[in-house]
């Protein structure tokens, strides 16, 4: 029988050793030590809570905006204060709410949905969470002192450059948001590998919950979408701190470079937010339509297609910047093409509703329907502004404000509210109130339309965005008043939601018991609230909706009939499976609670916080803390149990430690490298861009540096060879070869770094002189940074080798480091070619 109440579960645990073991090892530590916990349920809950907190902050700022704009010539907020407020409203909503809440929900539910105990790197999730919390507070902290950034959420230069924003505002933005990007990348690596490798046996790609498909695309979009912004961020911060003129038109830079880098991130960002929203809808709708999702493969097409096409849209935010007409047409074309997959999704949802025996209009479904309605309305105006002539007309008016709020509210806020109502029982074991839910839905849905529909008209009547006030009698007065009234309705609705979410349903809600919505996916397989270890045993599934199609499965999972039903050695573990078919490959030992993620996050936060005030020595100290925490963190990886087989149940065994390119560790490093590569390509793009826009200014030739450059290239190549030798020696069990190889590699790399530095120093080109010189130096600095990291890695590997932790059977860490090492060599050689050869040949 399936447990239908927590009482039965307690009862069972008393007689069942396996269940007792699982509960014991997965129980979160008590008291203050709870902050050591790294398990996805605990971190996921904190993550969600924090994201909603930031939504509230962003919402409060919106209320201030609407209070100011309610009446003409209002003087509630001064112009400068208004600028800070709308900038921080947009920034908070986009960076601190919309993207993180999606990661948060996924971190919380994905393992349960995929029949895994946790995600591949729990400590990285924890680190990412703390980084997000601290970075967010740091960015918002500036508001308290009225020194917040005021240049709009896309921070256009030159307004945010050193000349026009001499204060700290933009630095808070650049460093705070840059820091949060770190956590987004952490989460996306986690999700990608979790989805590809931590599925239960039998869950081949064609049976994966649709939510997982979307989150997979989401992860990859972050991988390629965030790097341009990270690079743009770094360039701007370096320009502000050290006067390297990347964006300074007077010195051969170009403000449009920032726009390109920003929107290369910014447009995919919209879909990075929307795809998880669609994922939530695609999960919730089938449950309440009581029918499987119509056209599964079409939805996969839509998710993947949107993921790709959304990278071909960035310039549609720059139609009015004087780019060649023909280029504009490409972006217009892609903007229209991306409407196809979005449309397909909407039709699939409608078809799902149609195909079922009738819709249950519970609160999550109401929110879902509201989301579709609002999103479609936003999509329609989106197609309008994607047309170049229309955009010429309405660019930077309230029409655009209306458009993107329709998209964001329909695509993200409403789906998130639906999802929170839907999945809350997993966390609290209680259902949220139907009555309060309907009330909040009505207030938010009606309020939203009252607030934002009139803005289309205000925009068409010419009201520009980002004005802190407006004269009476331009025909904007009553429209603005109506918008403000609507906005306050939304706020009231949110208040009702929060009351229920935080307090009422926990105290008075109905017990949710087993599968309260009669859903089909695995996260509902047992009595709520679900346990920290997700499931008693890792099942074998044979359909997309196992709970619907395989009667008795839930029961068998609960009885521990499948894999990993106990843990006699009292260690946390989960199963790694094959990417396409999902067959068991390895038992992963998961880490237990630890302080290192929190310490590392505090260290990183201090680093960025101190950098705002240019306290470089303290920054260096913070960096040391991070490195130290990292070493402690990594030291115990690659335990090698003897014998290297584990009984996973059902008479099968699996290795507990595997070396090679298929392991999750290697994939983690590979994805990190991919992300880094995308940022490096953005740097190359920047150089080419400056070159094409500055036709009267040819890139300076670094005279006299060629010799040093060749030496540098030779040295780094030697270092890679030496590393190859080291790992080859290790495989053969030649400890000496390992150590000598590593030391040689290290020395060659350090010498290479010196030669590379020298190759630019001898030319006498200074980074502050011109934009081209600054970019050359950036290539060197970028390489140098990677060389420094590689050096630390190798020192660490030498320490491991000395401790006997690098052997022929335990070579995974070495492989991971080697991958990064060769990548660094690649970056160095590419940079040398670009800086020293390219200007000579063009």
């Amino acid at each position: 029988m399936t447990f239908t109440s927590t009482r039965q579960l307690e009862e069972a645990a008393r007689h069942d050793a396996g269940l007792w073991q699982l509960r014991e090892i997965w129980a979160p530590p008590k008291g203050l030590r709870r902050f050591k916990e790294i398990n996805n349920t605990v971190i996921g809950e904190l993550y969600v809570l924090t994201a909603i907190f930031f939504l509230l902050v962003g919402g409060l700022l919106a209320m201030l905006i609407r209070a100011q704009l309610a009446l003409p010539e209002n003087d509630l907020l001064s112009a400068d204060w208004y600028n800070q407020i709308f900038t921080m409203h947009g920034t908070t909503m986009m960076f601190l709410f919309a993207v993180p809440i999606m990661e948060a929900v996924a971190i919380y539910v994905l393992p349960q949905m995929l029949g895994a105990r946790d995600l591949p790197f729990p400590r990285i999730s924890a680190y990412g969470y703390w980084a997000y919390l601290l970075g967010g507070l740091m960015a918002l902290g500036s508001l308290l002192f009225k020194i917040a950034p005021a240049g709009g959420w896309f921070m256009y230069v030159p307004l945010t450059g050193p000349e026009y924003s001499p204060g700290y505002g933009p630095d808070f933005w650049l460093l705070g948001i840059g820091f949060i990007e770190v956590s987004a990348v952490a989460a996306s690596i986690e999700l990608i590998i979790g989805i590809l490798k931590f599925r239960p046996p039998g869950m081949s790609l064609d049976r994966m919950p649709i939510f997982a498909w979307y989150m997979l695309v989401f992860g990859f979009m972050i991988m390629f979408g965030f790097p341009p912004l990270v690079l743009g961020d770094i360039l701007l911060e370096v320009e502000r701190a050290f006067h390297w003129p990347f964006y300074d038109a007077g010195k051969g830079g170009d403000p449009l470079l920032w726009q390109h880098l920003f929107w290369l991130f910014g447009h995919p960002e919209v879909y990075i937010i929307f795809l998880p929203g669609a994922a939530m809808l695609s999960t919730i709708i089938p449950t309440f339509a009581r029918a499987p999702l119509a056209g599964y493969v079409w939805i996969v097409l839509a998710a993947v297609g949107t993921g790709f096409l959304s990278f071909g849209l960035w310039v549609h935010h720059m139609y009015t910047t004087g780019i060649p007409m023909m280029s504009l047409s490409f972006f217009s074309a892609a903007s229209l093409a991306v409407a196809i997959p979005s449309g397909i999704q909407v039709f699939a949802w409608i078809a799902t509703i149609w195909s079922g025996p009738g819709v249950l209009l519970k609160v999550p479904m109401l929110y879902a329907l509201g989301a579709i309605f609002i999103f479609v309305a936003g999509g329609l105006t989106g197609v309008m502004v994607a047309l170049v002539p229309v955009d010429f007309q309405v660019h930077d008016t309230y029409f655009v404000v209306a458009h993107f709020h329709y998209v964001l509210f329909g695509g993200a806020v409403m789906p998130v509210l639906a999802a929170l109502h839907y999945w809350m029982p997993l966390a609290t074991g209680k259902l949220m109130s139907e009555t309060l839910g309907r009330l909040s839905f009505a207030l938010i849905f009606v309020g939203f339309n009252v607030a934002f529909f009139p803005m289309h008209i205000t925009g068409l009547r010419g009201m520009p965005r980002r004005v802190y006030t407006y004269p009476a009698d331009l025909g904007w007065d009553w429209l603005n008043l109506v918008s403000s009234v609507g906005a306050y309705m939304v706020a009231a609705g949110m208040a009702v939601f929060l009351w229920d979410w935080l307090y009422w349903h926990r105290k008075h809600g109905r017990d949710a018991g087993y599968n309260p919505w009669n859903a089909g996916t695995l996260e509902w397989h047992t009595v709520t609230p679900s346990s920290a270890f997700s499931l008693r045993s890792v099942p074998i599934v044979s359909s997309t909706y196992p709970l619907w199609d395989e009667p008795g499965l839930a029961d068998r999972i609960d009885r521990g009939e499948f894999y990993l039903a106990d843990s006699p050695d009292m260690r946390r573990k989960t199963l790694r499976t094959g990417t396409v078919m999902g067959e068991p490959r390895e038992v992963i030992l998961l880490p237990h609670p630890s302080w290192t993620p929190l310490v590392a996050a505090v260290g990183t936060a201090s680093f960025f916080g101190l950098a705002i005030f240019k306290l470089w020595w303290l920054c260096a100290a913070a960096a040391l803390v991070v490195i130290a925490a990292g070493v402690v963190w990594m030291w115990d990886t690659e335990p090698l149990p003897e014998p290297n087989r584990y009984d996973i149940g059902r008479g099968e065994t699996c290795p507990m430690h595997v070396n090679g390119t298929e392991t999750h560790g290697f994939w983690g490093m590979a994805l990190l490298v991919l992300f880094d590569l995308a940022a490096f390509v953005s740097l190359i793009f920047s150089l080419l861009f400056l070159w094409t826009v500055n036709r009267d200014l040819s890139p300076p030739v670094p005279e006299g540096g060629l010799g040093w450059a060749s030496a540098a290239a030779g040295l780094v190549l030697v270092s890679s060879l030496a590393f190859r030798l080291a790992s080859f020696g290790n495989r053969r069990g030649l400890f000496i070869a390992l150590v000598v190889g590593l030391i040689l590699a290290l020395l060659a790399m350090i010498a290479g770094a010196g030669a590379m530095l020298q190759s630019l120093l001898v030319t006498g080109l200074l980074p502050t002189q011109s934009a081209f010189a600054a970019v050359y130096w950036m290539f060197v600095a970028w390489t140098g940074f990677h060389m420094a990291i590689s050096t630390i890695f190798v020192l660490y590997m030498l320490a491991r080798a000395a401790a006997g932790k690098v052997t022929p059977d335990r070579r995974q860490s070495l492989m991971n480091v080697e991958l990064f090492w060769h990548y660094t060599t690649g970056v160095a050689v590419a940079s040398l070619v670009i800086v020293h050869l390219w200007p000579r040949v063009i």
Binding site: V300, G305, F308, G312, P324, M325, S329, A333, A337, L688
Partner: protein
């Protein structure tokens, strides 16, 4: 790309179509940006010119590759039983991957055509 990557049930094979679209988009963007910067693209609407011709050739190549990918995916689809109900897990999975790549190829093809059509009407570098 080696045939077996496309033929096997791999994710890369599934997204081959969109990858072609991406490559084409980048090539078109770079051709116009660089071409216009160097003054190769001064042709008015209806006139040919280096930039326009180059981009249209790129589109032709991209569409040809996509057509081949469509044929391959189609073959895999019929091999996995076409529109009949799948017999077993393997077949269901092959089918899914084949249809997935087929649909993505169509979408990518349409997107390439969208990019190409305005080329025939617009002035190149204004």
């Amino acid at each position: 790309m080696p045939m077996n990557v496309i033929d096997r049930d791999s994710l890369i094979g599934m997204v081959a179509g969109p990858l072609v679209w991406t490559a084409h988009f980048l090539v078109a963007y770079i051709l116009v940006a660089v071409g216009c910067a160097f003054g190769f693209g001064t042709s008015g609407p209806g006139e040919w010119g280096a930039v326009r011709t180059a981009v249209i050739i790129a589109s032709g190549i991209a569409l040809a590759i996509i057509a081949v990918l469509i044929l391959l995916a189609w073959r895999r689809w019929t091999q996995s039983g076409g529109s009949e109900t799948p017999q077993n897990e393997r077949q269901a999975r092959h089918r899914f991957m084949a249809v997935g790549s087929l649909l993505l190829c169509f979408l990518s093809g349409v997107a390439v055509v969208y990019v190409t059509v305005p080329l025939f009407f617009l002035a190149a570098c204004q």
